[in-house]
Subunit: 232 residues, 2 copies
């Protein structure tokens, strides 16, 4: 078993916190062991605390009305789980089961809330950690999205034009958040891509109305996926 | 100008907060207007507060010793910036300049810290918001990574075997975090991919030592990028 503070320092929740705060968090953690197949918590139970996996693997799943199991996540060493419902004061939205013999760190909600109240900079530092990571992930998603999303967006606009029997102006019928998810990216990246496509004269965006300025170039983009000035 | 609370509700920092907390955050916000080319803050200045873009566009950049400008981010409507240094108590690590006429909401650090101290559930709710978004982004990166990363990982392992003149056992000479970044993904996704490749009998992982169990299949994977059971 590695040093617990070392493991905490590498989790997305706590990585980058000063050492004294890592020690304080370590002090409220309780080690819990689970056999293969044992349930950690059930969907609907109050979120009494959250977990970090030390060893083993935890499956998070829901069971449909027809009894079908849907796996939402599988978490391994260093990964936290259950913290979203615990922080937001909601019951666990899914069931957690150990799919291997697992050792977990349990952080009781009461102790964690007391700790953040007593040490206001802890919550701020955790917000900094998560904000920074979110920003890094946004860049990562943008880099990964650049290969396919512009082509998919062009295809979608051409499809909309056909569906709306419009020559060059289409109306988005879904929100930008929904469109981002449909294209396999996030709203921030979609906005930047649309700004880029506008900057090179492919489209003009006014709220949910999009003018297709260069139909030929959009069709090329839909076919090849290459956005001039981005990939080529 | 849209309703400020509506805009706050759609930023990654505050989206999903209860309405009374959005109102409380709105109450400490100050509107600031910047002309095109105007500096919002300089690198090295103390982080006196953070911003959310209402309209316009903000460039975040550093200037190298040789005077070369490196753009780190460009933020547009709805996006927060400056919050990481402000939350972590550090000076601004880069300079922010309005590249269009811009309207920003400014959140003074002092008022924000007082608000989170007076309302402990605000910081917890913000942690829940950021955690949830981080989890969604992790899934997104995993989905985007599945197309290319297994092939790149297989190529890298084959390259390592040649470099280390090893028949079937290689030693990772960089950390998993560095390897993830080299392959264009994040550590969580890399771990899951390695677990999957181990589960289908391609490799065996023990710390930094990786045994290549099926060299032929790894070479196929490196060539085609198709991980059996993942893509096909």
């Amino acid at each position: 078993m590695k040093n617990i503070v070392d493991i905490l320092a590498r989790t997305p929740l706590f990585g980058g916190l000063p050492d004294d705060q890592l020690q304080a968090i370590r002090a409220i953690a309780v080690t819990r062991r689970f056999a293969k197949g044992e349930i950690v918590f059930f969907e609907g139970q109050p979120g009494s605390g959250f977990y970090v996996v030390m060893s083993g693997r935890i499956k998070i799943f829901k069971v449909s009305a027809e009894g079908k199991e849907q796996i939402l996540h599988i978490f391994g060493p260093g990964e936290p789980f259950g913290e979203v419902p615990v922080f937001s004061g909601k019951p666990f939205p899914a069931t957690a089961e150990a799919i291997e013999k697992s050792q977990l760190l349990f952080f009781p909600k009461r102790a964690f809330v007391d700790l953040t109240s007593a040490t206001p900079s802890l919550a701020l530092n955790m917000l900094a950690v998560l904000s920074l990571r979110l920003r890094q992930f946004t860049v990562q998603i943008e880099n990964l999205s650049l290969k396919e999303v512009p082509g998919r967006l062009a295809s979608y606009l051409i499809y909309l034009a056909a569906e709306q029997a419009a020559a060059d102006t289409v109306e988005l019928t879904i929100s930008k958040g929904q469109l981002a998810s449909l294209l396999g990216t996030i709203p921030e990246t979609l906005s930047r891509m649309m700004a880029k496509m506008a900057a090179i004269g492919l489209i003009e965006v006014a709220g949910r109305t999009i003018r297709l300025l260069d139909r030929g170039a959009l069709e090329d983009l839909a076919r090849t996926g290459k956005l001039i000035g981005t990939d080529g």
